[in-house]
Amino acid sequence: MNTAKKILRFTVVGFLLAASSAHGAAPSAGTVTIPAGVYRPLTRSTTDPESVAVAAFSLGVLPVTNVEFLAFVRAHPQWQRSRVSPLFADATYLQHWAGDLDLGADAPADAPVVNVSWFAARAFARARGQRLPTVAEWELAASAGYTTPSGRDEPEFLRDLYAWLARPSPAVLPSVSTAKANSHGARGLHGLVWEWVDDFNTAMVTGESRADTGLDRDLFCGAGAVDARDTGDYAAFMRQALRSSLQARQSTSSLGFRCAASLQLPSVSP
């Protein structure tokens, strides 16, 4: 990468950070830049590319907290629990809050917000001028370990990851501040809550037609390994299973989200 491009990127990031802090009413922990990289989908059809190039993007350091979401529903009453359209959220929506504008004991202010539908998460991000990360972006960011770009090669990272995956969700979630940072500086991608992604429902397949690709997305059991990139990445299978188990209006008590944004890099002539 040439130096000019690098400088440009830092300038842009600096600008974004400055902008968000100037905006500053919401207690946001800021963003990190995830450098461009390559995402290799866990499952794909024969006509899908083996890897997907992911441009550098901006990602929230932390998942969205209850208090941040409370500010959002205050400003956008149509997303309050008693007012939300059943088309966009089911009965689990914010069910752990004490009321429409009352967090209560089960939803500490600094804990990640959960029980939010994909529609609600997306609306929150849009209200901030942001969006949800894509599967490719999220997986790229989350593949980093504590100290290296590849968590799969860090025993300590893997141990923490699988210990978390094996635990049931606690009734009351911990503060986002308890989350360890990965090498990009993003925190809590693993170890706090599952997170919505923008294209969550394409997780199982990206082909246009099942008949065309020969990929049967209803495969379970051992058949789930058919077409899989890396059958040894159990954590990726679990994320994929979670994503495919949900519809956009549904949620669970362990599913939250964080925001992302594209980096509008000025075009650089080659």
Binding site: L87, T92, L158, R159, Y162, A163, L165, A166, R167, P168, S169, P170, A171, N201, T202, A203, M204, V205, R217, D218, F220, C221, G222, G224, A225, T231, G232, Y234, F237, M238, Q240, A241, L242, R243, S244, S245, L246, Q247, A248, R249, Q250, T252, S253, S254
Partner: protein, 504 residues
């Protein structure tokens, strides 16, 4: 499988959004098809709630001889439980136990199955019942997010004993965390009557720590992929069927085990030590009934039905006869049978006698080679002045260790022997008079009459030449001839070897 969006809702400005939502949902999520319309003759069947039991118990036999509509409610719960003493593990369960609740229905029943995934669950789950005819055995129809509930209906077409299990990716982890159980579909005319029925399942578990390592253990993906289980268990924990929790029966009763293997990886060479299976339904099929079986092979994701009459009281141990699993990984349980003895069928131990085996066992090539190497080492040591100073005390200490392992049981720790049975070593004229004879006795044993300090003994000492090295023989003789008031020159390896080779 593309369910069209409900037409009456696709209206106005929301149309585009909603269509998108349903279409997207169809990508990974098995779309909801709505309740099945039952034909009148099925709708008219009596409705009953299935009785579910926790292992090792089995619901009572089905008395009715006509089909019914059976409602099964099964809850999936991820819960921390004991896997061994001082060791905990986060099990993923059907009904809170490993294996999951036992389900008993009858051939021809129409089952309305509810799978409820507890809100605290970390991941989605589903169920593949091998008793179900249809794609995935119900897996796609029951794929359920945490805090959700799914329902589907199936008709039990085939009788038999079937495994059910979770089929959500990564499936080896879901099964490896305990997500399996058995469903019995009784044949229309029922099964032969027995006195006791029990439910036992084997499964392999992969923990981050070694067997018995205390604390809360995590699932170990690498061990799972390599199929190197830390635990192989009957009913989900070490000792689940032992002691107070052992299965029980009385003499004369016929016991039936519904035995299944959850896996995820290992099969079972299932055996009950001290019993012969009078009747086996191999692979839990119903047509060919095998008789008089010692060990039956049960595949992972398979089951068997085993009947046997217990004739003699005692404890019968259930094992996977791949015995490292039983001895080192927990794969054993117990059946305690009470009642009167029948010593003609089984007498118990009648006689205990001494048997010495060969007195002049030939050393193997390996032990000869070892001896050569030891000679070399001794020579090297002797050539080194620093080590040549190795003291008699050191030899005596080494000899004492040999004595306390091999000799003290008869000659006693103080060397006084047992009056009239085993001769003393303390101030023993027989021991101290003849060095070569002493070596010979240790190497080759001594049987018959011998006089020690004026007392005659008629006993037997087993040969030690295969148990002890030449150095150990020298050491132990140095010890006994320099302890308890005895005093003699240290024995050397050369002396021992000379005697050892004399008969060859």
């Amino acid at each position: 499988m593309n369910t069209p969006a409900p037409r009456h809702l696709v209206r106005g400005v929301l149309a585009a959004l909603l269509t998108l939502s349903v279409a997207q949902a169809a990508e990974g999520f098995s779309p909801t098809k709505g309740p099945v319309t039952l034909p009148p003759e099925v709708a008219a069947l009596p409705v009953e709630q299935a009785v579910l039991t926790s292992p090792p118990l089995v619901p009572p036999p089905i008395a009715r001889r006509t089909p019914a509509r059976v409602i099964v409610n099964l809850e999936v719960r991820e819960t921390v439980m004991r896997i061994a003493d001082g060791v905990e593990y986060t099990f993923w369960t059907y009904g809170g136990t490993v294996p999951g609740s036992f389900i008993r229905i009858r051939e021809g029943d129409v089952v309305e199955f509810h799978l409820n995934n507890h809100p605290s669950s970390k991941v989605p789950h589903n169920i593949d019942l091998h008793a179900v005819t249809g794609p995935g055995g119900g897996a796609a129809s029951t794929f359920t997010a945490p805090g959700h509930s799914s329902r589907f209906t199936f008709k039990a077409l085939n009788p038999g004993l079937y495994v059910y299990h979770c089929a959500t990716a990564p499936v080896p982890m879901h099964i490896g965390n305990g997500m399996y159980g058995l469903i019995l579909v009784e044949p229309k005319d029922g099964l032969p009557k027995v006195d006791k029925e029990y439910y036992v399942m084997q499964g392999d578990f992969y923990t981050s720590g070694a067997f018995g390592e205390p604390g809360l253990q995590s699932f170990d993906m690498a061990k799972s992929i390599d199929e190197r289980p830390t635990y192989v268990l009957l009913n989900g924990s070490v000792g689940a069927l032992v002691g107070d929790k052992a299965l029980t029966a009385s003499v004369g009763e016929t016991v039936r085990l519904y035995f299944g293997v959850g896996g995820p990886n290992l099969t079972s060479s299932f055996h009950v030590i001290g019993e012969i299976f009078d009747r086996v339904f191999p692979e839990a099929g119903t047509k060919y009934i095998q008789e008089n079986v010692q060990t039956t092979m049960v595949p992972a994701g398979g089951a068997t039905v085993l009947d046997f009459k217990v004739d003699v009281p005692g404890t019968y141990v259930l094992v996977d006869h791949s015995l490292s699993r039983a001895f080192n990984k927990g794969a054993l349980g117990m059946l305690k049978v009470s009642g009167p003895e029948d010593r003609v069928i089984y007498s118990g131990k009648e006689v205990d006698a001494v048997y010495l085996g060969a007195q002049a066992g030939a050393g193997s090539d390996s032990s000869k080679r070892q001896a050569e190497l030891q000679t070399q080492i001794a020579a090297e040591i002797k050539a080194n002045p620093a080590i040549a100073g190795l003291t008699k005390e050191m030899t005596i200490e080494k000899g004492k260790q040999v004595y306390m392992q091999n000799c003290f049981a008869c000659h006693l720790p103080n060397g006084e022997g047992m009056a009239g049975v085993f001769p003393p070593l303390v101030k023993s004229d027989y021991l101290l008079a003849d060095r070569e004879r002493a070596i010979r006795v240790v190497l080759k044993g001594l049987t018959g009459k011998v006089t020690v300090n004026g007392t005659t003994y008629n006993s037997a000492m087993p040969p030690q030449q295969d148990a002890l090295t030449e150095e150990q023989v020298a050491d132990v003789l140095t010890y006994v001839t320099n302890s308890w008031g005895n005093s003699a020159k240290p024995y050397t390896i050369d002396e021992v070897r000379r005697v050892k080779n004399e008969s060859r």
